[in-house]
């Protein structure tokens, strides 16, 4: 399974470590908030709103270089719009992987 990385963020920073750190700090702050909002909406069965939450989270997935996971999240987002929950477990796995990775900083 692919692993999160900072290659994309570092390429944008053009060697500016302060910029890399700033983006990382913002992701660390915002990701858990977005995840919690998504989980609540999913639990309540608000799948359309949950799909919008997934849409927002997808940006973080791509920032961390998780290309395959991004595809999974897109499928999951589209399913939720149709009130279908396929790929839910895969998405949860991706979320856990990102949460664990962000804890290492």
């Amino acid at each position: 399974m692919e692993k999160p990385n900072l290659l994309y963020i570092e390429s944008m920073s053009r060697g500016d470590d302060a910029f890399t750190q700033k983006i990382l700090d913002v992701v660390k702050k915002e990701f858990p908030q977005e995840l919690e909002i998504y989980k609540n909406n999913y639990k309540e069965g608000n799948y359309i709103t949950a799909s919008e939450n997934v849409h927002k989270i997808k940006h973080k997935i791509s920032l961390l270089g998780l290309e395959k996971s991004y595809e999974v999240a897109t499928c999951y987002e589209n399913n939720l719009k149709e009130n279908i929950t396929d790929f839910h477990d895969d998405f949860e796995e991706i979320m856990q992987m990102i949460s664990d990775y962000l804890l290492t900083f």
Partner: protein
């Protein structure tokens, strides 16, 4: 160029801000997590460029563009490419960036916006160009009637009507029949005051008394509004 960023995602705002800092002469003057706050800001301030997210709760990027009068140039930023076709329906949108943004694509997009802003200023009629450049002193219009140049105070014009090879210029006190076209006079009139609402009529929007169905009442004249011009007229109104 002064720009603002509108995106409900903090991370996206931070990235765009960082990328803007790497581009010469591009200043981020404000950031907004929702479009409503940005509309309030734009009512008081001018900017050259907006980085605008499409998917925001309650009020989308497209809602935003449809709401503001004379929007500045816009670069859309979004996580998917499904709205690209809709984006090209708006003249103000110069580019469409899919997240995650790449530096090269971002810089190319800003250059595109820059040349688009420059081109817009160059192509505007002189009166409007003066207004953009802050040197607008044109308040009068001279019309040629029987070899006499007659001065008309522009704000006093309430209606211009096309009649064959002539136009009727109607002011508070006089009516003038001039050998000219609606297109020519439209170029001489300030865009913020005058609007073409029908292929035969240009009106002074400050002189509107009321609007009913597809007609406007100005002074005692009922003027038709064509279907294609109606959206622009509605945008100009301070609707409650």
């Amino acid at each position: 160029m002064n720009c603002i960023i509108i995106d409900d995602e903090m991370t996206a705002r931070a990235i765009i801000n960082g990328l803007c800092a790497q581009v010469k002469n591009l200043n981020v003057v404000a950031e907004f997590s929702n479009a409503i706050q940005a509309i309030k800001y734009l009512n008081q301030n001018d900017v050259d460029l907006i980085f605008l997210d499409i998917y925001m709760p309650d009020f989308t990027g497209f809602d935003f563009i449809q709401t503001i009068k004379n929007p500045p140039k816009v670069i859309l930023t979004t996580s998917d490419d499904q709205s690209a076709i809709e984006a090209f329906e708006y003249d103000c949108i110069v580019d469409y960036l899919v997240k995650p943004l790449s530096i090269q694509r971002f810089e190319k997009s800003v250059k595109k916006a820059e040349s688009s802003i420059f081109r817009t200023i160059e192509e505007k009629p002189k009166t409007l160009r003066n207004k953009i450049e802050g040197t607008n002193t044109v308040n009068d219009l001279y019309i040629n009637i029987e070899r006499r140049l007659i001065k008309i105070n522009i704000p006093s014009i309430y209606l211009v009507e096309a009649k064959g090879d002539y136009i009727n210029v109607k002011t508070e006190t006089e009516n003038y029949r001039v050998h000219s076209t609606l297109k020519k006079i439209e170029e001489k009139l300030p865009e913020n005051l005058f609007l073409k609402i029908h292929r035969s009529f240009v009106i002074n929007v400050k002189k509107i008394i009321d609007i009913e169905d597809n007609t406007v009442l100005i002074k005692k004249e009922v003027i038709p509004i064509s279907r294609s011009n109606r959206p622009e007229l509605m945008k100009r109104l301070n609707l409650l």
